[in-house]
């Protein structure tokens, strides 16, 4: 199994990956609160990017509304906790099916009626926006006033209820990111993965070859949506407050796609590298601007916009494929 997963990957790349994981495991020992916050954001977007990548990078379906699944996951788990005291891990059992159902709804609407390309992208935005306005008026989750989780000083980390120090969230996200990475590799090397790539490259050809494209595209949306909802649950319990205006916002969807876009769509390491580059440069920029006494809302987003523009123009395939070739880390053809 492991031999099959690592076949064709240069030994250096594997060593680097192991080193990276070890570094991430040890980082909280040295990191202060500020750095930890940044690292949590990096892992959050690396994980989400990995989930989004399944749809766009593997199966070639551009979703611009992934905030929908994160938001549904966040709201489901948070509402169950606030109303019934149900912990996040049990809540996950409801959050994942709900997000998967939403993904299935979007997928069914689109793929059943051959809605593709731009129509599909717009449909994903529209459904997410529908959810945003809907949750704004849903009194069970406190509407636009926001849903708040009870916050208290915790003497110890309660993993079962996800209450505690940010370090705990860091390790949850690190585990999730590592597992997502491996899961994506497994998927990519499986029958499903090859069918996805076939659909991405040429859907007509895939269909002529006898692949049930509807079926496999549905799997891609459902898997991606389910994975995304888990990040939403963590979002809810980490921030302890939820607003439809934020979690379902289109800018949240855009932030989700930025990391894999910058890192490299369809690559496994791209989302991780992309999240890293974006957050670190954004934080550096913020520090520099603060040094000049400039603190304007929108500068961070403006920076993300400029980075996206430059990446799309200059390195449309993403930073990772470019870097991997340069470092001799690209996967060999076996």
């Amino acid at each position: 199994m492991i031999a099959r997963l690592t076949a064709g990957v240069p030994r250096r790349a594997l060593a680097l990956l192991g080193g990276l994981l070890a570094t991430f495991m040890l980082l909280p020992i040295f990191a202060g609160d500020y750095l930890l916050t940044v690292l949590i954001l990096i892992l959050y977007f690396a994980y989400l990017g990995q989930a989004w990548n399944i749809m766009m990078g593997f199966a070639g379906q551009l979703s611009l509304g992934h905030a929908l699944y994160a938001g549904l996951g966040a709201y489901t788990a948070a509402a169950l906790y606030v109303h019934f005291g149900i912990g996040p891990w049990i809540g996950l059992l409801a959050a994942i099916p709900i997000a998967a159902l939403a993904g299935a709804f979007v997928g069914f609407l689109a793929f059943r009626f051959r809605v593709a390309g731009v129509y599909f992208a717009i449909l994903t935005i529209a459904v997410a926006e529908f959810a945003r306005v809907g949750f704004d008026h849903l009194s069970w989750t406190r509407g636009s006033a926001g849903l708040f989780l009870p916050v208290a000083q915790y003497s110890h980390n309660d993993l079962w209820h996800m209450r505690g120090h940010p370090v705990m969230f860091y390790y949850i996200l690190l585990a999730a990111t590592a597992l997502a990475f491996i899961a994506c590799r497994v998927l990519l090397k499986s029958r499903i993965g090859y069918f996805w790539l076939a659909i991405r490259e040429d859907e007509e050809a895939a269909r002529s070859a006898g692949i049930d494209t509807f079926h496999y595209k549905m799997i891609a949306v459902i898997v991606s949506a389910s994975m995304t909802s888990f990040a939403g649950v963590i979002y809810a319990f980490y921030y302890n407050n939820l607003f439809p205006e934020q979690v379902f916002n289109i800018s949240h969807s855009i932030l989700i796609i930025l990391a894999p876009m910058v890192g490299g769509v369809g690559t496994l390491f791209g989302p991780i590298l992309g999240a890293f580059v974006l957050e670190f440069v954004a934080e550096a920029l913020r520090t520099v601007l603060e040094g000049f006494g400039i603190d304007l809302p929108g500068t961070n987003q403006l920076f993300f916009g400029i980075v996206l523009l430059l990446v799309v123009i200059a390195v449309p395939e993403g930073v990772w494929p470019w870097l991997a070739r340069r470092l001799g880390l690209a996967e060999g053809k076996t």
Partner: protein
């Protein structure tokens, strides 16, 4: 709800819908010819709206008077964007084009946010509270003026495409890209002109809409989405379809605002989109999808 209130709201919705239609017309023209989806469409409209606000507060110039110069400025902006950036992306994969325009959209929203701040702004024209009465019907003057201007601009655009040589050349590009190249048309320049025209439409629509609604930097993406909904409803690439879709969406929003709550009105526009995608994916006036 009394029937005359119902009628008033419906007429108001249809008039607003005509302005929506003009906004969507810009998107439709760009998509129909250049085959690029302008994900920064609503954001370009907010540029026009802030330009109109600035001119109004500095020089007391009425947005309807400034409609032509602002539309012209947006034309130049669109022309330069297409000629300088987007033309190079025509042969790139679709998602690459989307992301280019999404990047432009993000930049516009946040530059406006930094320059003008997050608060809602509007213009207080002298006729802001005037209204016309026609039997039981009472209609806001601003909506009448805005809708009339929208119809005039849309008619001018129809005439341009129908009766001028340049318009015919652009339609030739839309019908057959290779054919247009073969007969020696400068397709890149025509694309830039078309993108400029689309932006001019949305710029003009922005000046009109400013009479009806407030503007914040954050409404850009919402209008982009609304323009998509309208164009898909009416049929992508169909000019009459865009106007019809605009009226339909304007009417739905107005009635939803009356019967439910105004803040939930956009949900109904999305419901229309889902219905159209389900039952008539090519749109009401669109040709069959290929």
């Amino acid at each position: 709800v009394q029937p005359d209130i119902f009628l008033n709201v419906a007429v108001g919705g249809i008039l607003t819908g005509l302005v929506y239609g003009l906004m969507a017309l810009g998107l439709s023209v760009i998509f129909g010819v250049v085959r690029v989806v302008n994900f920064a469409h609503g954001e370009m409209m907010t540029i026009a709206m802030y330009a109109a606000i600035t001119l109004f507060s500095a020089l007391h110039l009425d947005p309807l008077v400034m409609l032509m110069p602002i539309a012209a400025a947006l034309f130049v902006l669109g022309y330069l964007l297409q000629a300088g950036l987007i033309n190079a992306f025509i042969t790139r994969p679709e998602h690459s084009q989307f992301l280019l325009l999404i990047a432009i959209a993000i930049i516009i929203v946040n530059v406006l946010l930094i320059v003008f701040g997050p608060d809602a702004q509007n213009v207080q024209v002298p006729y802001a509270f005037d209204s016309f009465q026609l039997g039981p019907l009472i209609v806001d003057a601003t909506k009448i003026y805005a809708a009339s201007a929208a119809v005039v601009v849309a008619a001018a655009l129809f005439a341009f495409f129908r009766y001028t040589t340049l318009g015919t050349a652009i339609r030739a590009c839309a019908d057959n890209h290779t054919g247009a190249l073969v007969v020696g048309l400068d397709v890149n320049r025509l694309y830039a002109l078309t993108f400029g025209l689309g932006c001019a439409c949305v710029g003009a629509a922005g000046c009109m809409l400013l009479l009806i609604f407030d503007v914040t930097p954050a409404v850009g993406p919402a209008y982009t989405l609304l323009a998509f909904v309208i164009v898909i409803t009416g049929g992508m690439g169909s000019m009459p379809g865009a106007l019809l879709g605009g009226v339909l969406v304007g009417l739905t929003e107005a009635l939803a605002g009356l019967l439910f709550t105004p803040s939930a009105k956009s949900m109904f526009a999305f419901a229309i989109l889902v219905l159209v995608l389900l039952f008539r994916p090519q749109g009401i006036m669109g040709k069959r999808l290929t």
